[in-house]
């Protein structure tokens, strides 16, 4: 499993290297211009005398760059994992190699895991660059003990993203044009995880669905630990919720992917698109 996953990661790295503009775009420019800059500039439009007074009232921190930076980190890791899995499976199918790859004794999960790891690696590099910019140029400030405590939270995030990516993998296998079906739920997951806006803005009833998303708890924990924002719930409860939701998404994702794969193998429609 480990060797097969590493081989998928290596292959994806070689593919990305062949298209350097796309690689830079995927890993760095897209999070920068689609999320970080628009959010930062929109936030700057509400700054009064150099202070984000509105954000401070809403979340407990006036560190605009730091608050956005944590959101960009979460979004970049999620989108990186999902996009990589989607493109790995879709490219294999379109170039006609998926049946050959899957005829090998490599576990099917390796193709998803390899995609998740590739996307997460790109996402991590991109996030480090963006967070460095936030700290050095925009005076974002993250508490160092909080950063260290956030590392296990990031591992939980990886597990949750992995579960979601398995679901995406299942959708790609079943559907002919899955990009629409993948993009919209991914956007909704980002929206309702608090990446774009503080979830406290939502009415109580609308906030309930956000609680089943692992990223909601993990992002809130990271912001609380590093920026001292007000948490949505007591920290112990947030940790328990983060573990439970990440485990649940992973289990459901693996089950959905494997059962879809079995069904397609029986029907003989794996390579159809």
């Amino acid at each position: 499993m480990i060797r097969a996953t590493a081989a998928v990661v290596l292959r994806e790295w070689r593919v990305q290297r062949r298209y350097p503009v796309s690689m830079v775009n995927l890993a760095f420019l897209t999070p920068l211009y689609q999320l970080a800059l628009p959010t930062l500039l929109l936030g700057s439009a509400f700054v009064v005398g150099g202070s984000a007074v509105g954000l401070s009232r809403q979340t407990g921190t006036s560190d605009l760059a730091g608050w956005i930076g944590a959101g960009v980190l979460t979004a970049t890791l999620l989108v990186g994992a999902v996009t990589s899995v989607y493109e790995t499976l879709e490219a294999d199918r379109q170039t006609g190699v998926i049946e050959h790859s899957w005829a090998s004794p490599a576990p099917r999960q390796a193709f998803v895991l390899g995609g998740v790891l590739t996307g997460s690696l790109f996402g991590t590099v991109s996030s480090i660059v963006l967070l460095t910019i936030a700290v050095t140029l925009l005076h974002g400030s993250f508490a160092l003990p909080g950063v260290l405590l956030s590392l296990p939270v990031l591992l939980l995030m990886l597990a949750g993203n992995c579960g979601y990516s398995y679901l995406v993998g299942a959708a790609v296998l079943v559907l002919r044009e899955a990009d629409v079906i993948v993009e919209l739920p991914t956007l909704l997951v980002m929206l309702f995880s608090g990446v774009f806006f503080p979830l406290t803005l939502l009415p109580a009833a609308a906030r309930l669905p956000t609680y089943i998303l692992p990223d909601t708890w993990e992002l809130d924990l990271i912001r609380h630990l590093t920026l001292a924002t007000r948490p949505l719930a007591p920290v112990a409860a947030e940790v328990a919720a983060a573990v439970a939701t990440a485990a649940a998404w992973l289990a459901i994702g693996v089950w959905a992917f494997l059962s879809t794969e079995r069904r397609l193998r029986a029907a003989g429609t794996l390579a159809q698109f």
């Binding site: 796309s22 690689m23 803005l201």
Partner: protein, 279 residues
């Protein structure tokens, strides 16, 4: 021989073909429409988070954007952004797709003009664009209570019609550009990103550093955005409406002519080197 009827037939056939492809993959259009509603909603919620109920923060936004209507500002910006995105990924990538599918060489053996090749695919995209702007208008009027009278709506439609040539021309220019590069998806995304950053789609340009302002204001998409926001969110009898529309039409004609000339040069270069079918 009068070529006009034949050219018109080729133009109509290209539009019909693009329409059929668009209808075949209708979920993509549905996704675009959902994005037209949802993404500005996210930016609006974000703006509310940044405003945080603070009157001074709200006043700061009004000073910088020139309007009190956060929702109107964002929805109009995003609708134009979706339009330019549609032009980049649709007509802008059309010649590239023909190349990948192996039909570009056959296409160029026909006597169809460069004008038809560049601009006919854009016509079919007017349908989703009209739906996007209608949805944006409905959201502004009924979800956020932006006061949209007949004057504002008529002014907005006039600006949109005047913007059609410049948007078609930009799509054509991207189409020519991606004929020369292998990594067309990366180039398309980079152009889209530059538009998002420099043209003030979801935030006022006043926020950008001073040295960026001349670049931002010189871009045609910024002109479209400013004309649309000025007409729809300000007084309907805005004095500069017609001059703005004339400017947009002139920009469209100039960029469109440039795209046609560049396509000719590119095709000659590619034909000489035998790379017409390569990608």
């Amino acid at each position: 021989m009068n070529r006009l009827p034949h050219e018109a037939a080729a133009f109509a056939a290209t539009v019909r073909k693009e329409w059929q492809v668009m209808m075949r993959y209708w979920p993509n259009t549905t996704m675009l429409l959902l994005e037209t509603v949802l993404m500005p909603l996210a930016y609006w919620a974000q703006a509310m988070g940044f405003e945080g109920g603070s009157a001074s923060a709200s006043h700061a936004f009004t000073q910088r954007s020139g309007t009190q209507s956060v929702a109107g500002f964002i929805y109009l910006g995003w609708a134009v952004y979706m339009w330019i995105s549609t032009m980049i990924w649709g007509p802008g990538m059309w010649l590239r797709r023909e190349r990948m599918q192996g039909s570009l060489e056959s296409l160029f053996l026909t006597p169809v003009s460069r004008f038809t090749l560049l601009f006919a695919p854009s016509v079919a995209q007017l349908f989703p664009t009209a739906l996007e702007f209608t949805l944006a208008g409905l959201m502004m009027r009924f979800a956020f209570g932006v006061p949209l009278g007949a004057g504002q709506i008529a002014g907005g439609v006039i600006v949109m019609l005047a913007s059609v040539p410049v948007l078609f021309a930009l799509g054509g220019l991207v189409g020519v550009l991606v004929m020369r590069v292998r990594d067309s998806a990366g180039v398309g995304a980079a152009i889209r990103g530059l538009v998002a950053i420099l043209c003030g789609v979801t935030y006022p340009i006043a926020i950008l550093p001073g040295w960026v302002h001349p670049i931002s204001y010189a871009l045609p998409v910024t002109q479209v955005l400013n004309a649309l926001r000025g007409t729809v969110l300000d007084s309907p009898a805005i004095p500069g409406l017609w001059s703005r529309c004339l400017l947009l039409l002139a920009l469209g004609a100039a960029i469109g002519a440039l795209a046609v000339v560049l396509l000719g040069l590119t095709m000659r270069s590619i034909s000489r080197t035998g790379r017409l079918g390569q990608f």
